[in-house]
Symmetry: C2
Subunit: 355 residues, 2 copies
């Protein structure tokens, strides 16, 4: 175990890596973590010197505000290893910007950009052996902030912890998904926190998703809370519809996450002369398009899943199957994205970021 | 330190109480905790033997789902000491029922009633010296449940911790409050989790409340997310309006918490021949009533605050002052409630519960 101060990070490394104990061929998403973690405390009105230390348990008072008032935000990112053993991130500054947007909405102090990028690079370099080569293999990176102050009055905390933990992963979803269009439950309100990666947004979806699972659907596509007539997002994914050869997706709003994979797909569509319409998408339109055959595809986009094709949906008791396409947009965009992420193609927009 | 098994609780007591270190005349809400805490783990599909142990820090993996997905619910209760040194709870079975209603909505397994009531009584008996006599003094009791399973996939956890911690308190709010009627931000959506005491509901209010604080208002009265035309609740309190001599409050819904103090006030009003209307209350109606003088009072009800009179509100730039009344309903209901809580009056509805 060595302890050094580098680039203003207090660095303590493990004596012996746990990597040989891990069966990389059989890992569940998000259950194995690398040797080290990043941690930085907000105390006395400022973020203190960041630390990288052996992955370890946290000690928190039972009154820590995160347990009571859900003051917690997070990000999801991935690192990829190319054939030359170089490791790449994908648009990390967008994740940095978004975690601070989420934080501001939850009255959490913003985190400094150099602490984030420097911490991230140092951590991934240290745990580089955990990033495995090969399509679908990646290091899933989870930055998150929690309110640690021990006080149960319902008010923003004065103390926080910003952490980054890393988990080696393979593909998140397997195969095509069946989804339910929400008719009764809602994910977010106008004027609420739906656009933020706020912890509480996720727990709120578990019960309705459990009900959907029991009916044989893996995910819910949420509709607007007011009318349930417009399709929004899937909670862990933004959603795209292909109608004939046009790609359609809902605009971001204070209810819908500004997905980084979503905006990358939109840019790639433009780059490849695929028409994209960013507009409200009604349940009625999609059901009619499924009936008349103009609905060619539905797919989700997100960091964990990259692109998830959807094979069927249900709404109001009507079930629609979407035939599998030979030349699907979902396959096209997934390939395009992964080629950029794994450094196999040009990167005309500067999305790759070398660690 | 003794360790015994009593009534199926694994009991470990402190060697020496910290009570003499506490300045009971100068305590901030929710920052001091009693000697002991209750803890029960959900593992392998069932709640394990409950424990009461010295108040202490928790050790959790950084990947514990509560930090990432906000799977956490809580309750707020109080214990009161009467002149004969007996300690009383107020409608504790209602808190028990509600924490399980909240839990179900967040896909958290329900907690057994006997574990809850037995644990609560044993814990309070052990820390009875921390319950101080005198109006406004109470032991604030915080049952809560958090998802502890170390896994960052976005799904309900398989492991949880149900805890009860206790904090000696004086009155929560001091004096009459100024409030803002929400025009843009929202607390909850139809089909969402607003009726649950879900951790994430609270963090979502902090940023808008900070903005209100900067304008000189202590709280926000939330309006419906769709139109912002109807007054709902204040986030930590339900809200009552007195128009002439009639008490008006919004009905509970999937957006509004079914407050125990709220329903006690409604019952006490009926008992005392005060007309109560449970119906939608529009911003327009309240502004007009403030202008024509028929709005006599606004007050909040909640466990922490009991009854909080409101002296002024703002909406769309219009500020309305509510003159202080000699014989206010808020004073009347606060006195009635506290007399029952402190065992100074009859308890015709069986709300008191002896510890």
């Amino acid at each position: 175990m060595s302890r050094i101060l580098t680039n203003e990070i207090d660095l303590e490394t493990v004596e012996k890596s746990r990597i040989n104990d891990v069966d990389f061929d059989n890992i569940d998403f998000g259950r194995e973590f690398t040797d080290h973690m990043f941690s930085c405390d907000f105390v006395d009105g400022e973020w203190q010197t960041p630390k990288i230390m052996p992955y370890q348990a946290l000690t928190l008072d039972p009154s820590a505000r995160v347990f009571h008032y859900g003051q917690a935000v997070f990000e999801g990112m991935k690192a990829f290893k190319d054939d030359q053993d170089e490791v790449w991130l994908f648009r990390p500054e967008d994740n940095f910007n978004r975690i601070n947007i989420s934080a501001a909405r939850l009255a959490i102090p913003e985190f400094p950009k150099d602490y984030f990028l420097n911490g991230l690079k140092t951590l991934i370099q240290l745990d580089k052996a955990w990033v495995k080569k090969g399509d679908g293999n990646a290091l899933y990176i989870r930055p998150f902030v929690i309110a640690t102050e021990p006080a149960i009055s319902a008010a923003p905390a004065n103390e926080y912890k910003f952490m980054i933990i890393c988990s080696p992963v393979k593909a998140y979803y397997k195969g095509r998904l069946s989804v339910l269009f929400a008719e009764k439950f809602s994910r977010s309100a106008d004027g609420g926190v739906g656009f933020a990666k706020a912890a509480g947004n996720y727990a709120a979806q578990f019960y309705p998703t459990n009900l959907a699972n029991k009916k044989g659907f893996q995910q819910i596509i949420w509709t607007d809370a007011n009318t349930h007539e417009y399709l929004e997002e899937a909670g862990t994914m933004n959603i795209f519809f292909r109608i004939n050869n046009t790609l359609v997706t809902a605009p971001t709003s204070d209810r819908i996450l500004d997905g980084i994979t979503r905006k990358s797909v939109i840019q790639l569509a433009k780059d490849n002369n695929i028409d994209v319409e960013i507009r409200r998408v009604s349940v009625k339109e999609i059901k009619e398009a499924a009936m008349d055959g103009s609905l060619k595809e539905i797919f989700g986009s997100g960091t964990a899943a990259v692109i998830s094709p959807i094979s069927a949906f249900e709404h109001a008791g009507d079930v629609f199957e979407i035939p599998d396409l030979e030349d699907s947009y979902s396959t096209f965009f997934k390939r395009k994205l992964m080629d950029i992420q794994y450094n196999k193609s040009d990167d005309q927009h500067g999305w790759r970021y070398k660690v």
